[in-house]
């Protein structure tokens, strides 16, 4: 009956010298944590590298990443690229159609627009009418005479900040909730899931509007409102992953080695589910952008004269049939943002989860 652990070389030699070995209590005690040899080489070398390689090899994912970066850069530098500010009004220069130097000679973006009136079509060029030869509103001006270019990019900035902040906070809250609920199971899980069910059962619109009414309107309030509704799906995913993983051998091993619950949840399991979590964050960013747009439409968005993509769209919506150029830039930027976040998330999911590739 050979019971000696092979790695304890000094004892092996001892055992060899004495023909009969009597096990001591020391033989059954655990080794200290710091001497457990984790095979870092195999795990770290290939996994993330492979993920990146897999990601890069997917063109749609790269396109998505490119647009996210491009729009982020424009959101930072875009508003400073001309002399207009997002809030300065010029009521004499309102509803000017887009006019871009260079293009104007080609007959497009020359500042004239065709309005479909109830009495027929009418082509106007306010620049020419007012003799403004050196004024260029690249995306046109809105009905207060504000530059749509500047507003679009500052709107993109606000929307990105709101969405990313909301996504990250909801990740932290939702993830912790789901992990804790899944890990402890039993009564804890039942109670936490009932709370979730109740929170889920109340229409989001009701929660969000009430919150926006109670708190002072502004960016922080919107982030909180978005966070409150988004954390639930995150927690569900985290819980499902936790249920899958908590019976795995490595968790069992860690527990046997005396690790505390906190350690197991956040140090052992979390790194293993970071893939699905990041993917979910990437998916929840466009959802947050979209929800913010919806709030703007209901009149609960970012307070005027500040703007977000959503509030720009709902402002432009009012002149959709009159001056369609006012709604097009924010819509395109928003669509591109949503598309690229989705593509990135898709690419990331597949890169992180090679199982999907096994076909």
């Amino acid at each position: 009956m050979e019971t000696q652990p092979v790695i304890y070389t000094d004892q092996v030699s001892k055992a060899a010298s004495n023909t009969t070995y009597t096990p001591t209590s020391q033989d059954f005690s655990f080794k200290k944590d710091n001497t457990i040899e984790i095979d870092n080489n195999f795990a770290s070398q290939s996994y993330w590298k492979e993920v990146i390689l897999r990601y890069i090899s997917k063109p749609s994912a790269m396109i998505g990443l490119f647009f996210i970066i491009a729009i982020t850069i424009m959101a930072i530098i875009g508003p400073g690229m001309n002399d207009f500010s997002y809030s300065a009004q010029n009521l004499l220069q309102k509803n000017f159609a887009p006019r871009i130097p260079g293009f104007e000679n080609l007959g497009i973006f020359n500042g004239s627009e065709t309005i479909s009136t109830t009495t027929g079509f009418k082509t106007i060029n306010y620049y020419a009418e007012q003799g403004l030869n050196d004024i260029y509103y690249w995306f046109g001006s809105d009905n207060f005479g504000r530059d749509i270019w500047t507003r679009t990019w500052s709107g993109a900035r606000v929307s990105l900040i709101i969405a990313v902040a909301a996504a990250i906070i909801d990740m932290l809250i939702g993830m912790s909730y789901g992990l804790i609920s899944g890990y402890f199971g039993g009564k804890v899980d039942i109670i936490m899931q009932r709370i979730l069910e109740i929170a889920n059962g109340i229409p989001r619109l009701v929660i969000v509007t009430l919150l926006l009414l109670v708190l002072k309107p502004g960016m922080v309030t919107i982030v909180i409102a978005l966070m409150l509704t988004e954390w639930m799906s995150m927690s569900r995913i985290a819980r499902a992953e936790m249920l899958k993983l908590k019976e795995e051998e490595f968790v069992l091993a860690s527990r046997t080695l005396g690790a505390g619950s906190f350690f197991i949840i956040f140090k052992e399991i979390l790194p293993n589910i970071i893939g699905p979590i990041i993917t979910q964050v990437m998916f929840s960013i466009p959802t947050a952008i979209f929800t913010e747009a919806f709030l703007s439409f209901v009149g609960l968005g970012i307070p005027v004269p500040q703007c977000s993509l959503g509030s720009l769209i709902s402002e432009g919506f009012n002149s959709f049939t009159t001056h369609p150029y006012q709604i097009i830039p924010p819509i395109i930027v928003m669509a591109l943002l949503m598309l690229s976040f989705n593509l990135t998330a898709d690419g990331l999911r597949e890169a992180l989860d090679p199982k999907l590739k096994e076909r």
């Binding site: 109340i202 229409p203 619109l205 009701v206 979209f290 709902s314 049939t321 598309l339 593509l343 999907l356």
Partner: protein, 310 residues
């Protein structure tokens, strides 16, 4: 099984009760009251509060409401339609919302399924990307913009469908709103179908089936699709509830007398009873549908030990 369903029903009942209480508390946190009108002075407001029992402590109001509700009395509207019983207000609107929402779900599910299948079978090709782009564009443009564009093109320019809801042409009137509403479902289902299918197609039993010589449609429909469908249904279920109540924007544009627009108006005018009743119906539908899905799920897949989970 029966015991399980009974247990779930009892839990659902208490969950609904708690939701109702939470709604009550939320309503009272809401700034403003139903009677903050420029033309009302404080005496009149006090009289109105007393008339509707809003001057009572919230606990009293809550139990009174629950007691009335058990008799089928959801109270009256304060603002939207003064003194109209809520039941009367909702009964003609709910079917319209359900009809349009149901049509949108069906449309979205079918188109989404097809898109998702296309993307999965032509994985990593241009078709895959195209399907993704179509489904994402579907959710990228806010539904109100999409609805108005549809209305402009199909309704105004081509005159195919009525631009405004008409009770005598309920079916034609439902077409454009359903399309506008179905976009979100379509995109979610397409995305989910794609990943489920990829997983199923990559699984061992598919490999086995393939190696046993099965091929073509039999392989796809008998094995792959069937296994992918079930999780898709679980995603679809909450979407159904969302669509029935969440169609407010589209309802506003097409002048549809449904419950979504009612909810928004009610929230904005602090019409407590309408908000509570509609939210409650929403919660009840949500919990019911989740319950049905869970039970179906259990029947289909005995590996899920229902009793233990619930």
């Amino acid at each position: 099984m029966k015991k399980y369903i009974l247990k779930r029903l009892i839990t659902a009942f208490f969950t609904l009760l708690v939701i109702l209480l939470v709604l009550f508390i939320l309503m009272h946190l809401m700034p403003g009251s139903p009677f903050n009108d420029e033309k009302l002075n404080s005496d009149q407001r006090a009289a109105l509060y007393a008339k509707y029992g809003l001057d009572q402590p919230i606990v009293v109001q809550f139990f009174r409401y629950v007691a009335n509700m058990l008799h089928g009395d959801f109270g009256v509207s304060y603002n939207i339609s003064k003194n109209t019983p809520i039941a009367q207000l909702i009964q003609s609107r709910l079917p319209i919302s359900i009809q349009i929402g149901g049509c949108a779900v069906a449309l979205g599910a079918v188109v989404g399924l097809l898109l998702g299948l296309l993307a999965a079978f032509k994985h990593d090709t241009i078709w895959d990307t195209l399907a993704t782009i179509i489904s994402v564009i579907g959710v990228s443009v806010p539904s109100y913009v999409f609805a108005l564009a549809l209305s402009y093109q199909l309704g105004f320019k081509w005159g195919l469908f009525p631009m405004l809801y008409r009770a005598d042409h309920a079916f034609d009137s439902a077409v454009m709103p359903s399309i506008a509403l179905s976009m979100f479902t379509m995109a979610s289902i397409a995305r989910f179908t794609r990943s489920e299918m990829l997983e199923v197609l990559g699984s061992e039993y598919m490999l086995l089936a393939e190696s046993k010589g099965l091929s073509g449609s039999s392989l796809i429909f008998k094995h792959a699709l069937r296994n992918a469908l079930i999780p898709i249904i679980t995603v679809l279920a909450p979407l159904i509830v969302d669509l029935m109540t969440g169609s407010l924007v589209v309802e506003k544009i097409f002048a549809i007398p449904g419950v979504g627009s009612l909810l928004v108006n009610a929230i904005q005018s602090n019409d407590y009873n309408v908000v509570i009743a509609l939210s409650f119906i929403y919660s009840a539908m949500y919990i019911l549908i989740m319950l049905v899905v869970d039970i179906l799920y259990g029947i289909v897949d005995p590996r899920i030990r229902l009793a233990k989970e619930g």
